[in-house]
Symmetry: C2
Subunit: 630 residues, 2 copies
């Protein structure tokens, strides 16, 4: 028997069951026109997934139930499988709130089919609680329900039987993490296959991270191969966020043949339907589509940032963007991306020079704006900063304890921060409002890691678009924009060769001095602190340094370490300086930082949760330090 | 037999096992001098609890294990019971990271006694995942371990047997949430009592919220009474944070007699030892201490804010505070609190008038500073704002698409925000640095709820000390400071009677116009949106409005609602205006807001997790609206 299946890679709008229901209804109509037997939709496609504590609103949950029933009512001539929240009257979660399951509904003949334990839905068991996920905060797992009902999970887990064209078909339905079996007690796809599933379906709402698709293909290919049956992976597109991080959802829905070979896949970030037929006798998958070709990393970064930013601006209703343009690589890449996304007429670039800005960077800014054909203005900050310094140092301060009067003094660092805030909070924020829109945070991940930014100066704005890119990735994206997107030297070549500098003092001016970071080393050091599954601390770094394995462990060159640090003393001083900032004051800055568009395996924000603490060096660290210095 | 027990209500410093170990060693020495038989210490007293993803660092976990063994080594002449993290080599959590348990160690004769399932510790089962808690992110529960090892939890849970003076004693050891049994499947104290525990011990690391002690006393009293055995509740003091929220830990350790009567309790926020004897034959508790008297709410608010702020400043190394002093109640209360905490010599109050500030508020600011005897200065913003407006509107903007030139225009709202940022980012931030310290965020909870604040203007600073107080609570605290703390009219009486206003335009000047909020109604409306266990939305509000139960449901007066809203049309317009802000743009502001000192049952920040979404009105809302308007 030939079964026609459509996998609906839809855009899900988090927190809007009303809008998602409209989209789903359209998909159902289209699938019926195409005479599909089964329409498969993603996990949580009615409520969205990353919606924070909106899960605590009864009226919101009621609407999700209402629309779920409306979907079931449309399943007269088609089997509809979709994910949503399921609630249960009279039961509570362990926090005393309404009982909620991350559930999949299988609907046919206008009704919901029986699922697990007498419910009309099946229940997700593997609830992720790492990175951006908080599933245990909201959902009751199948395992907990089984314990309550005194039954074994292995007895409950089973394929759902549907009848199509008079024949019974056993579908092994899973929800997202249920298929990521590595570290969980139960291997759900294998249990379902052993219990006679003829087809595995994974309904996902899975955020994109660099490299994730490779892992997905490997994982699901191996599942279908081991089970010897086809597998469909259905994922949504769109963006969802948890406040501090914006996540993109790439879709990349895919059907795997019983051999494990991907038979067809949908492109990233596109709303589309994956259509194919499944021969229930042979298990063969027949499709016209082909897997998409793998892309080079910087191309994926470009497309993900572009899509994520575009969607974020749309959701927030931001149509125009103002960007402070220093002449450095970060603001140049940000400005070029926004021009690409919004069009030059909707971008205002502001160059805000003080007396410390070099002709080189001022010229770069001017030429970039001209090349991009955006709106552009030069607003010097010299007069305003002079006025601020004057006001701060000349205003008499009265000490009302003894009625003495004195003045404040400003250090050089304080004068630098005055400039940064004069740019960001005084001019850019106001100009952005007057231009009609928001302004951009141009901070990159290397700066955010150690708080090399000024509070209310440059770590502010609506979105840190490149906040999850290390400095070397920002350079690569800049080159990609010139070579592949604009196919022109939009970003002046000079920018790739000058030593980056904040230009906040005479010593920092480009051509004189630059940033205190050796990016070809520090990017990789900070990446080890943040991105490794087992987090790296200074003790690990010193151990590797002592063993001469540091460069290979970090992924940088030996040469850069040797050049930057002539001896252990300078190496250790540098390590302590940045570790103290990374785990100290930079945390305070990140707490008040704009949302970051997440892209990597671990981004700053809610993805990497942090408390403001005093920096900690472990016992092993002190031992290694003593050995190395003696 | 008489057993002498000491419950050590210690300050725990999160993320610093080295310092906590020193403190514990001191307590052990003192307990030995006092010839205690048992020393009971809090949950997670080595690592701290709210330390974010520090739990992912192997070197940190190694140090915790090392110090735990060092504590056990000191148990030669005493039984030491303490909480810490336990790791297990060769096992992983469901996220693939190192296996971690929230554990209690029971140590005697220099070693750790057997706990559960062959381990030398007992394991917490009830892992909270609500409000600020993320236990499932880090810890493996006893229930999951039992499932792995194919055994029933009820078989594993049992009292720990220790031998004292030749006699075996069964201690029922629980970790914090294990005792908060309301909504969990297993009632752990009751299981332990049924299995022969002669004494229940609850080791906690439990943050303080208003009203929590009442609930604690009720809960633990009922447990000891039902079991008919004494119960010791041992909690730490100090502060811990998760970035967006600072939580205080009040201690309030307490011993309950077998009748359920609290026999003795330690005061809030004080490091102390609770000493008593336990007669193992009769179960009697003998102690010299008495329970502390319950305090009035504003007194508790004052003490909690004072303690939490003091500890936060100490942890961050902040010794001086600068506060923008508008002459309104929020900054007046904040300034008075900081003067109380740091002393007047360490406080700089800045009055930053524009032409819109009334003589009334300027005088209040001056008199308050004089009364407090702090440092004080007046720094007008008129000239700087004029310069900014001039620069923004007169600087030519070039459109590089067509090479036309034009100017930006400023709206009234934009001119208001320029003033707010001129104060916060240009002057206060710089003056605070020059004065040598940080500056304060004076926002209250009512403003934070709907984002009635300017980005990088007034919703900035090191800490939102009163960010978890509704406006009416700020007034109450102001009166308390005058009447009970300073016993003088420090905050001028006038401030309590004038209508609050932002004074950013001629229309808003005090005496002319004021805030758009009717605090006696909106405080209670926003509280319902945020603080109820089952969150309230506009549909609930309209239902109550229609049923005439709104005032009693919210806790405000009928009169205020009737006065503010003559009809359903104005009522609904107001509701929609604030709901859209509450669930819309205010979320964006909170994402970048300073840390809030948490005090209530639900504070903005990590305690109430939010995504930036488009505001949602439910189906029921639209139905009710239509009914009310027709």
């Amino acid at each position: 028997m030939l079964i026609k299946i459509i996998c609906g890679q839809m855009e899900v709008i988090p927190g809007r069951p009303d809008l998602n229901y409209q989209k789903i209804s359209t998909l159902i109509r289209q699938a019926k026109i195409k005479q599909a037997d089964i329409l498969l939709l993603p996990e949580m496609c009615l409520p969205g997934y990353l919606i924070g504590d909106l899960w605590e609103q009864q009226t919101f949950l009621d609407d999700c139930s209402y629309y779920a029933n409306q979907i079931a009512a449309q399943s007269q001539d088609i089997c509809i499988i979709f994910g949503s929240v399921a609630t249960e009257v009279g039961k509570i979660n362990e926090d005393g709130r309404i009982r909620k399951y991350n559930a999949a509904y299988i609907c046919q003949n206008g009704t919901m089919l029986p699922g697990y334990l007498g419910r009309n839905f099946i229940i997700k068991n593997a609830l992720p609680n790492y990175r951006e996920f908080d599933d245990a905060r909201y959902f009751h797992s199948l395992q907990k329900l089984c314990a309550e009902e005194n039954t074994a999970l292995a007895n409950v887990l089973q394929p759902v039987a549907i009848t199509l064209k008079g024949q019974q078909l056993n579908l092994g339905i899973m929800l997202c993490e249920d298929g990521w079996t590595d570290n969980y007690q139960y291997n759900i796809p294998s249990i379902l296959a052993n219990k006679g599933a003829a087809l595995l379906c994974n309904l996902s709402c899975s955020p994109y991270s660099l490299g994730k698709n490779k892992k997905r293909y490997r994982l699901f290919a191996s599942q279908s191969q081991q089970a010897g049956i086809p597998l469909i992976y259905c994922n949504n597109i769109g963006i969802q966020n948890n406040g501090k991080n914006i996540f993109t959802y790439d879709g990349s829905s895919c059907v795997y043949a019983a051999t494990g070979k991907p038979a067809a896949a949908l492109p990233m970030f596109a709303e589309d339907m994956l259509e194919f037929t499944w021969d229930t006798e042979t298990g063969a998958i027949n499709t016209a589509d082909l897997p998409i070709a793998p892309q080079q990393e910087t191309a994926i970064i470009y497309h993900t940032l572009r899509y994520g930013t575009q969607q974020f601006l749309k959701q927030c209703g931001i149509k125009k963007m103002t960007i402070g343009l220093s002449g450095g690589i970060d603001s140049a890449v940000t400005a070029t991306m926004y021009t690409d996304i919004l069009g030059p007429e909707n971008v205002l670039l502001l160059n805000l020079p003080s007396s410390y800005n070099s002709e080189a960077t001022k010229n770069i800014a001017y030429h970039l704006a001209q090349k991009l054909r955006t709106n552009y203005a030069i607003m010097p900050i010299t007069e305003s900063c002079r006025h601020t310094e004057q006001q701060l140092t000349a205003t008499p301060i009265t000490n009302f304890s003894d009625n003495t009067i004195y003045n404040l003094q400003l250090s050089n660092l304080q004068r630098e921060n005055i400039q940064a805030r004069d740019r960001g909070a005084r001019l850019i924020a106001a100009a952005a409002a007057a231009f009609g829109g928001a302004f951009s945070c141009n901070s990159n991940k290397s700066e955010i890691a150690i708080g090399y930014a000024t509070f209310y100066g440059d770590i502010c704005g609506a979105l840190a678009m490149i906040g999850d890119l290390w400095k070397h990735q920002v350079y690569a994206l800049g080159r990609y924009l010139n070579e592949e997107v604009f196919k022109d030297e939009i970003i002046p070549n000079e920018i790739f060769t000058i030593r980056p500098s904040a230009e906040l003092s005479a010593e920092q001016t480009v051509g004189v001095g630059g940033d205190p970071l050796v990016y070809n080393y520090h990017d990789y050091l900070f990446k080890a602190f943040l991105e490794r599954w087992h987090k790296i601390t200074p003790a690990d770094i010193l151990r590797w340094y002592k063993n001469n394995s540091l460069a290979s462990e970090l992924g940088c060159t030996d040469q850069i370490i040797k050049e930057a640090f002539p001896d252990a003393l300078t190496f250790i001083a540098d390590l302590e300086r940045w570790w103290k900032l990374f785990s100290g004051f930079a945390v305070a800055k990140r707490i008040q930082a704009p949302p970051i568009l997440s892209l990597s395996k671990r981004s700053f924000g809610y993805d990497h949760r942090e408390a403001q603490l005093t920096p900690y060096f472990s016992r092993e660290y002190y031992q290694l330090k003593e050995e190395l210095l003696n």
